[in-house]
Amino acid sequence: EDKTIHMINCGDNTGAGIPIQDELIKGWEADNPGFKVEVEFVPWGQCQEKSTTLASAGNPPAVAYMGSRTLKQLAANDLIIPVDMTEEEKATYAAPILGTITANGKQWGLPRAFSTKALYWNKDLFKEAGLDPETPPKTWDEMYEAAKAIKDKTDSDGFGLAAASFDNTMHQFMNYVYTNGGAVINDEGEIVFNSPNNVEALAFYGKMAEVSQPGPVAYDRAKLRPLFSEGKIGMFISGPWERVRVKDVNWGVAPIPVGPSGGPGTLLITDSLAVFKGSGVEEQALSLAKLLTNPENQMAFEIAEGYTPLRDMPEVQDILKADPTWKAFLDAIPTGGPEPFVTDYVGLQDSINEAVQGVVLGEVEPDEAIEIAAEQLEEFK
């Protein structure tokens, strides 16, 4: 009887990268007789919770696709094993990317997917509002002015702002934190959220609400795209995937505008394959995960899926040549900051979302909101 390696994949099996992955798995099985890989696809909404629940009930999957932000929490609870990268392997990743999987000096996952953010703008609306359609805003103030112009002069709103109670709100806000020289947690693991930079960022976030679509609190990323596609908002910040989905609009994409107290930045998110402890096939799972994510295989997978390339390899130039809109995203990689690495990610997210919503709804002052959130975050570091 073959031993089963239970692998949880988020999403569905229709992606163009899946056949590639299947091939690799088949190959791996051939090399490792006595083991059989069983891939389960779980919809995004429950995917990570499911793996975690299985693990905490003592029945972990062998390897699962997890947001890298959860790795520290999983590690702290002794649910996953470190992936023990060699220096050589580490060197293939850009530093910010490596940062997303490193805690207590160890790496806890193998990056599988990755994104940076950039600003999309609607050239037609810019024109209609009397702005130069080819010049995207470079700073927050410019962005605000452009949005205001669109809001005032066209039927549309200037900006797409997300503030719903979903993870995307915090993600959006982190872009402002990172372009204003802020941080949530420092390298020593201390909460440094309560800083003037962050207060400034949050205040600006709230200010953007004035020129954004009505009711930002009802919006997450997924709902903004239709608005942008319909020409109802002039700009929004999102990842590279929008490039292929935004339709019927004359758009451009540029780096995220920079805040008054900082420089270029972006939130850098990775998802990783994590190897769970206690499945009985940890070793094989790790070997499989490494196989899937080695530079060559990973690149093939990314090209098929249309993901942002993790590693700077020759193919990247081809990609960029074929589609220059990648530029803003790829350029942002070195400036990227990770998702805050904490032991209670959802707690963190709730606290920050609440601060953002409070300011967007005009219920609390930014400094107060930041202070409260910072206090709550102490519990999660």
């Binding site: 919770e49 975690t52 629940t53 693990a55 905490s56 009930a57 003592g58 929490q73 999983l74 609870n77 002794d78 649910l79 503030a163 719903a164 109670s165 979903f166 679509q213 009505p214 009711g215 930002p216 609190v217 009802a218 919006y219 709902k223 239709p226 608005l227 319909e230 109802k232 209670d344 959802v346 707690g347 709730d350 979302n353 609440e354 919503q357 409070g358 709804l361 219920e363």
Partner: protein
Amino acid sequence: MAHTAKQKDYFPFLLLVPATLVMVAVVAYPLFETFRLSFTNTSMSPNFEYVGLENYEKIMSRRFPEVIARTFYWMGLSVGLKMLIGMLGAVLLNAMVPGRTLFRILVMPPWVIPIAIGVFIWGWMYNGQFGMISGVAQRIGILSGPFEFLAYKNSAFMSTIVTDVWIGVPMVTIYLLASMQSISRDLFEAAWVDGASRFYRFRRITLPLIVPSIATMALLSAIATFNSFDIIWILTEGGPRGATTTMIIDTYKTAISRFKYGEGAARTVMIVLFLGSFMLVYFMLLSRLARRSPNNAA
């Protein structure tokens, strides 16, 4: 009952065996486990320690009282609306007008549709830009621009309630309708002979006679509403800023989203206590009511 043979006394218990087995396995035992968990710091990892009342202290120090108050407010409003709309619906469906059979069938879909699916649809409808409600309201001039129902504390609070009401109303309607139909027609004829108007008949006969049914239904839907999870979770995840965080949502967030099983269990225990005392109070009120008016409805 008076079946003489004494040795048969165990029989009723025998009858209860299957149901009890299921309940013990699926409810009682897990509930007991929950109780045990509530004194531990169980989290993601399978290892845990007993921490005494720490979890309960944590609950109290947080915003829990606010959540409790909100829960009951949410529940009260939702149940109230369900009863009101259900009653209205029942009255209308009780009218002997052509097409009533069809109408009676048409009330049911929200009940038979899987809750999650219904909520997805509502989520779509609440969208300010392309949802039906804001769209129609703009069309007929109630709203001047798109309105995001889930974006503001009050409107999100009300929106979750409306969806909950939508899901709960068919059952209430049909139940009250059934209860109205069980009132003897004679009573209405007698009142009519005495010159009572339709409204008067409703107020003086129908209403008092279905009070017991209303009470029963109110309790049932209060419990269902209290436990209403999917609706809020799918629509708002308890936001904005906690405006729709009820005890269940709070518990789920703690236990399932944040993997703090111990704390979540403590919250569950609190829920059980609250619901338990709520039901107790309710039943006491009800039996007092019943004692005041022995109702020997035909």
